[in-house]
Each structure stands twice: as structure tokens, then as C-alpha cells.
């Protein structure tokens, strides 16, 4: 007759002001790094922030932020863990070191389950770290999360932007709110991405340079916020989310 989980999702997100899906279509463009650092930096600027790692077959945010030994609590549902002041949920607490091969239908089901049982408290931002591809997770986010907004990440590469362009077209067509596009891992000057993004009437949010030091900061939140990467991202974040 009915899957009771679906109807409750809106209620679970009731106290969250903005839900931001950090997405791309393309893999390896820095979605996880941007989602994690954005959550951290907004939280340090006194916003209340949640981070939900939705890349179930390859979760990364716990590595970037060095989140270990914290677990959601069970209390009439799942209460997100607290990590560096961020409310945090990742499937890593349940899949651990094991490979978790999930077909699209499983991704969809796991996503609905976690949304249905997680009690997000009052938050200014819930940041979602999305998997690559334009598939179940992206489609379900559009389908189930009424207040979703997409923050799209590209690199300067043609290969990345080709997919990003398709994702943008889809979001525009479906009138899904778009925060805009961040161009990450910039190594030399070029207007390729900016020009094409603006031609689609989508906000171009700014560039982040390739930062050879960022990886050394993984696992250490204090070091991470002090990287060139984090500083540029913070500039963008404060402009975009004043």
C-alpha cells in the first residue's frame, strides 16, 4: 500500500533552513573536499551545520575531517554524531572497512531509510556530499527533498565540464534551485568554465586553486581550515552564504 518512510522525510528536515547538495556528475572534482571543508568553515563562522555523506559506495568525508570513534546516537531515531561542531551522518559507521557494493535501487533505499530515521536538529545548513554520476542519488534528492539546492563543482577540464553541463541543463530544466558552480583545482588561467556557466545563466561562484598541501591536512581539522584551499573556499562561502 505505501512505504511509510517517504512521507516523513520533509518532517525530518523541517528544522533545517537550507539543504545543499554538493554535486557534479563527474567524479574526482573535489565534491567531498568541498562539502567537508564548507561544513567545517561555516560551522566555525557560527552557523549550525550538518554534513551527510551520501556517497555510500565510497564515503570520504570521515577521512578528510578525521572523524573517528563518533557514532550517531539512537534516541527515537538516529541523532547525528557531533564532530568538530558539525552534526554528522555517514554510512561509514555501518559499513566500516568492508566494500559495500550497492546497486542503484539499494542506494535509493538506503538514502530513504537514513532520511526517514535521522532527526536533524535546527540547522542553518545541511551539506550533502553526493556521489558522482547522474543517477539514483541525484534523482532521489530532487524527488524527496523539497528544499534541496545544488552547489555544482567542476574542474577546468573539458571532461569534467562536459558532464557538469549536462547536470546543469537537467537541473535548469527541472527548475531545481542552483546555488551555482565552483571551479576547483585551477592550475592556470582560463575562462572556459566561467564563460560557459554564465552563458547558461547560472551563477559562477569562484575559483579554487590546486593546493598541493591540502592532502597533508587530511584528518586534522585545524590544519585543514588553514590551507590555501580552505581559505579560498571560505571567501566564496562567505560571499555566497552571507
Amino acid at each position: 500500500m505505501a512505504d511509510p518512510r517517504i512521507g516523513i522525510i520533509d518532517k525530518r528536515l523541517e528544522k533545517v533552513k537550507r539543504v545543499i547538495a554538493v554535486s557534479s556528475g563527474k567524479g574526482g572534482v573535489g565534491k567531498s573536499l568541498i562539502a567537508s571543508t564548507l561544513a567545517l568553515t561555516l560551522s566555525q563562522k557560527n552557523r549550525s551545520v550538518g554534513l551527510f555523506d551520501v556517497d555510500f559506495t565510497s564515503p570520504s568525508t570521515h577521512i578528510i575531517l578525521g572523524i573517528q570513534n563518533v557514532k550517531p546516537k539512537e534516541e527515537k531515531g538516529l541523532i547525528p554524531a557531533d564532530a568538530h561542531g558539525i552534526k554528522y551522518v555517514s554510512i561509514i559507521n555501518y559499513s566500516g572497512e568492508e566494500a559495500l557494493p550497492l546497486r542503484g535501487a539499494d542506494v535509493s533505499n538506503a538514502l530513504i531509510e537514513l532520511f526517514a530515521i535521522t532527526r536533524w536538529e535546527t540547522l542553518d545548513f545541511l551539506i550533502m556530499d553526493m556521489p558522482p554520476g547522474i543517477s539514483d542519488a541525484t534523482l532521489d534528492m530532487i524527488r524527496f527533498v523539497k528544499k534541496i539546492e545544488f552547489l555544482v563543482v567542476s574542474t577546468p577540464s573539458q571532461l569534467a565540464f562536459e558532464t557538469v553541463k549536462k547536470l546543469l541543463k537537467l537541473l535548469l530544466e527541472l527548475k531545481v534551485p542552483l546555488v551555482g558552480v565552483v571551479e576547483n583545482m585551477k592550475m592556470k588561467e582560463s575562462n572556459f568554465v566561467k564563460t560557459h556557466v554564465e552563458a547558461l545563466d547560472v551563477p559562477f561562484l569562484g575559483e579554487i586553486p590546486f593546493d598541493p598541501k591540502v592532502e597533508e591536512a587530511f584528518g586534522n581539522a585545524n590544519a585543514l581550515v588553514n590551507t590555501v584551499f580552505a581559505k579560498r573556499l571560505t571567501d566564496i562561502a562567505l560571499k555566497v552564504f552571507p
Binding site: A2, D3, I8, G77, L78, L100, E113, A116, R119
Partner: protein, 132 residues
């Protein structure tokens, strides 16, 4: 104890359907609970009894447990899930997110994690009976 969250979802979903069907009072709500997720029936029942009000005040919630049947996509083998074969942590993971079964359960015949959950996953609203 996330049974409480599931109970809320059931009541909320049942309310919507009752409204759609123009019910003034709900007499019975039938629910199916899959064994894979090992929902604690007692707690679910308690949560439902605490949460029911308004048109659900006198409703009976009937809960049926459904065996979890899995079918391997590689060799076709079909089997019934038994929690006794799982350690506590894996069972807990599956309790929260049944899909993590693909990390902990393998086809007993060929060892593949590429199986389908034919039935017995999660919580399902089966039917609602009431007075218009």
C-alpha cells in the same frame, strides 16, 4: 530505539491515506515488518500506542513479521536470512540501514554479495480499515 522514528513514519503515512479515503475513524492498520532489519516489535508497538491519537485513538495496529528472503543474482540461489549467522556489529548495521547487508552477507552457495532482497526488508504499510 529508532523504532520510534519508524512508528512516526507509519502514523504520518497512515494519516495521509486516511484523509485521502475520507475516514473519520481508523479501526485497524496492518503493518508488515521485515526480519532483515530486526525491528523490535515490542518497541514499535509501544511507540505506536503512544503516538496514536485523533482518528487513530481506537485503532488496532496489527504487525506481521515477514521472513527475509534473499536471491543471488549470480547463481540464482535463494535463501532465508538468519540473524544467528551475524555478529553484533553487522546485525546493528543492518538494523539501521538494511542495505549494508551487502557488506556482511554473502550468497551461501557462491559467495557473491550481489543478491536481491526479495522480501522481508524494512517496514511496510499494508492496509487501513476505518469508518467514513
Amino acid at each position: 530505539m529508532h523504532e520510534w522514528a519508524l512508528a512516526e513514519a507509519i502514523i504520518s503515512s497512515a494519516s495521509k491515506i486516511a484523509t485521502q479515503e475520507g475516514l473519520k475513524e481508523v479501526i485497524e492498520v496492518k503493518i508488515k515488518v521485515g526480519e532483515l532489519q530486526q525491528v523490535e516489535i515490542d518497541i514499535l508497538e509501544f511507540a505506536l500506542s503512544e503516538l496514536k491519537k485523533d482518528i487513530f485513538k481506537n485503532a488496532i495496529f496489527t504487525i506481521e513479521t515477514v521472513k527475509a528472503e534473499l536471491k543471488c543474482r549470480i547463481c540464482g540461489h535463494q535463501w532465508v536470512f538468519s540473524k544467528d549467522k551475524l555478529d553484533v556489529d553487522s546485525a546493528e548495521a543492518i538494523h539501521f540501514v538494511p542495505e549494508t547487508a551487502h557488506a556482511y552477507i554473502k550468497c551461501p552457495r557462491c559467495g557473491s554479495p550481489d543478491f536481491e532482497i526479495l522480501r522481508g526488508r524494512g517496514v511496510w504499510l499494508e492496509s487501513i480499515r476505518g469508518v467514513k
